[in-house]
């Protein structure tokens, strides 16, 4: 059943070939980890990280999606135990009808719980609820020596694993605290913001009133319109906020799959003109201001999940996602980055801006209090590498960092400057895995 094949991240760049092993039971994985070969072992979830985090060229890769059972649900406390390969999509489909929602939802439901732990993912509620690692009671980690350790937030190895990108071991099982909800809907306020100042001002003033908050920024707008954006914020809807027609099935969650993007669209289909035109229509189509709209969880959180494999629209050369955070107080750096991107006219549909709240104890966890900007960029233009290297410099100078789950091109030197707790993480990892059994292409590139 093992399968030698090329693996890529969601961005479709830098493939490498590994031996992919559908994960069996614990014993099967212990056997794999204790015979790691020369190139080591890595767990892979649904491959939604953008770069090379979930691939291990020449080595072994455990496909965790075969381990997808929900083990127990406590409807009183909301505590749920699952195998690490279960997807957030499955959790939502099974548990929303019981009034339980995932504590953190990324922009797609197609990620595994193991991947969510390993990247310590964040959602639109980070400013009030923190990241995925903040909602865990415990994890079972298969370590390099073949032992299975039950870890809680009291253990250093727990926090080296949260955000540790699979490099401390294989997460086998996770116990997490779900969030009680009355409905599968959100109440959403939408506002159009003329520029970056307007946007940051609004977010700073009353983001704390909302559970969920995110802004879509038009990266091609420049000058006085730099940072032109649409801000959407909301709360989980309570039963009495639903219109009558939805009230008889408040927890109904059956998101449709709309379409599959064609195999590969021609390279260069997304260029400055097509994207600029799209962004214009999108901006003026958004309401100047709308309050209290009821949106389904699918529509509000995962607009892109309606199109399967939408990543193909970027053509065969693939694309990358650039996501950075700069601390509060570094608004100028954020503005400079946005200006550089806008000036370069690197086609990106939209960027997403969000305010982070407190970070957690994860040594390599990405979130820190500040502004995080995310954008998709097709690969291909000769200037792109240099532009992003210059953006890295801005981010470092501002005391910020890039998100490993999205990164596909930074350097080891950059990484060291961005993650001040890297050395501490290395020590813990070295103790748990002295021979470097757990390995990935990302780890090789960044010399982790």
């Amino acid at each position: 059943m093992d399968d030698r094949r090329a693996l890529q991240g969601w961005g479709g760049t830098s493939p490498s070939v590994s031996l992919v092993h559908p994960a069996g039971d614990d014993r099967d994985l212990v056997a794999m980890v204790t015979e790691p070969g020369r190139r080591g072992v890595l767990a892979r979830g649904l491959g939604r990280s953008y770069g090379d985090a979930a691939q291990n060229g020449g080595g072994l890769v455990a496909d965790m999606t075969t381990r997808n059972r929900v083990l127990s649900v406590d409807t009183q406390t909301g505590e749920v135990s699952v195998e690490a390969g279960v997807s957030l999509d499955t959790l939502m489909r099974l548990l929303l009808p019981m009034g339980l929602f995932v504590p953190v939802s990324p922009g797609t439901r197609q990620v595994t719980v193991g991947g969510a732990v390993a990247a310590d993912i964040h959602g639109k509620n980070h400013h009030v609820d923190g990241s995925f690692g903040d909602h865990l009671a415990s994890i079972d980690l298969l370590c390099a020596d073949g032992s299975i350790r039950h870890l809680t937030p009291l253990d250093d190895l727990f926090w080296a694993t949260v955000g540790g990108m699979g490099l401390t071991g294989v997460v086998l099982r996770v116990t997490l605290r779900m969030k009680p909800v009355e409905t599968a809907y959100c109440v959403v306020d939408t506002e159009r913001c003329a520029n970056l100042d307007d946007l940051m001002q609004r977010m700073t003033t009353d983001d704390h009133r909302y559970t969920y908050s995110v802004a879509w920024v038009d990266c091609l707008a420049s000058g006085a319109s730099l940072g032109r954006s649409v801000l959407t914020r909301g709360w989980p809807a309570t039963l009495d906020q639903l219109p009558r027609r939805l009230r008889h099935k408040p927890l109904d969650f059956r998101p449709p799959e709309l379409a599959v993007a064609p195999a590969h669209l021609p390279n260069g289909m997304l260029n400055h003109l097509t994207v600029a035109a799209f962004n214009n229509v999108w901006y003026y189509k958004s309401p100047r201001e709308r309050r209290g709209e009821i949106q389904s969880i699918g529509a509000f959180f995962h607009p892109l999940d309606g199109v399967r494999q939408w990543n193909r629209i970027y053509g065969s050369r693939g694309f990358l996602q650039y996501q950075f955070v700069v601390p509060f107080g570094a608004e100028d750096a954020l503005r400079r980055c946005l200006t550089m991107l806008s000036d370069a006219g690197q086609a990106s549909f939209l960027a997403v801006l969000k305010r982070f709240g407190h970070g957690n104890s994860g040594h390599l966890s990405f979130p820190m209090p500040g502004w995080t900007l995310t954008l998709d960029i097709p690969v291909g233009s000769a200037e792109l590498g240099g532009l992003l290297d210059r953006l890295d410099e801005e981010v470092i100078a501002a005391g910020g960092r890039l998100y490993l789950a999205k990164d596909s091109r930074m350097t080891a030197a950059t990484m060291r400057k961005m993650y001040p707790r890297l050395e501490q993480w290395r020590e813990i990892r070295h103790e748990a895995d002295p021979d470097g059994v757990f390995m990935s292409d990302l780890a090789r590139r960044l010399e982790l």
Binding site: R4, A6, G11, T13, S14, P15, S16, V17, S18, R38, R39, G51, D52, N56, G57, G58, G59, G318, L320, V379, L384, G385, G386, L388, D389, S408, R409, T411, A413, D441, R444, R445, E447
Partner: protein, 253 residues
């Protein structure tokens, strides 16, 4: 490991003083400082000069002794480049000798020298490097062949025959290792003004090493298996291959 933009981390050059190889390394390393290159070649002034030229451009350079006439020597050089920290992204197989073409078909030593360096050692290195890259699950080999191998002519058929052999070997190797994530790019330059060709009168479509380097880098990016430098040579060679032998023999040069 090559990143999403195409930035490389490590390059190995076998035949570390080849001008085409050095131009290619510079072009591959252009976007970012600090790319690591191992120059495997015979010790001496030329290798040292190549190393300092690359160093001056911001590359990290390691020199390794390698005489491809000795099997032990190239085995060790390849092992040391791959056993160092970090995967090798691109290996350039660049060694080769042109020799005196008239001596080469009449003098046994001269003939065997060409065959051993250009063909036997190329095959040996190809085998070793391919195994290493397969084990990584990614990487590329650039094999510097020549249009002279496509249809060897009276004027340089010994050289041409060795290149025909190595060209066929690397083309087949490319097919054999594609499923392992390894790309093999066979490069067929026409006349290149370089140290190797000083004294020869340039043929039409002649070029400098930097132009070949450009073609190589594009070919790697596009995932090609064979490239001609300059690219129009592809069509010239295709026409030449199909000329009836009596006509072919009467061509000048």
């Amino acid at each position: 490991m090559k990143d999403a933009i195409g930035n490389l981390q490590r390059i190995l050059v076998l035949g570390g003083t080849s001008e085409i190889a050095l131009a290619t390394v510079l072009k591959l390393a252009e976007p970012r400082q600090g790319v690591h290159v191992t120059l495997a070649g015979r010790p001496g002034e030329r290798r040292a000069a190549a190393a300092s030229a690359l160093h001056a451009e911001g590359l990290q350079v390691t020199e390794v002794d390698c005489d491809v006439r000795e099997r032990n020597s190239y085995e060790q050089a390849i092992a040391s480049a791959f056993d160092a920290d970090g995967d090798v992204d691109v290996v350039i197989v660049a060694f080769g000798v042109l020799g005196d073409q008239e001596r080469a078909w009449q003098d046994l030593d001269a003939a065997l020298e060409l065959a051993e360096v250009n063909y036997v050692a190329a095959v040996g290195c190809g085998v070793l490097v391919a195994q290493r890259l397969r084990a990584q699950g990614h990487g590329a080999i650039v094999a510097l062949s020549s249009v002279a191998g496509e249809r060897p002519r009276r004027s340089n058929f010994v050289y041409g025959s060795t290149k025909a052999g190595m060209d066929a070997f690397y083309a087949g190797l490319g097919d054999a290792v594609a499923a392992d994530g390894v790309q093999v790019l066979v490069v067929r330059p026409g006349f290149v003004k370089s140290r190797m060709t000083t004294g020869l009168s340039p043929a039409p479509l002649s070029q400098v090493p930097e132009q070949v380097a450009e073609v190589v880098v594009d070919g790697l990016r596009q995932g090609r298996r064979t490239v001609w430098a300059p690219p129009p040579l592809r069509f010239v060679m295709s026409a030449l291959r199909h000329l009836p032998a009596p006509v072919f023999r009467r061509l000048p040069g």
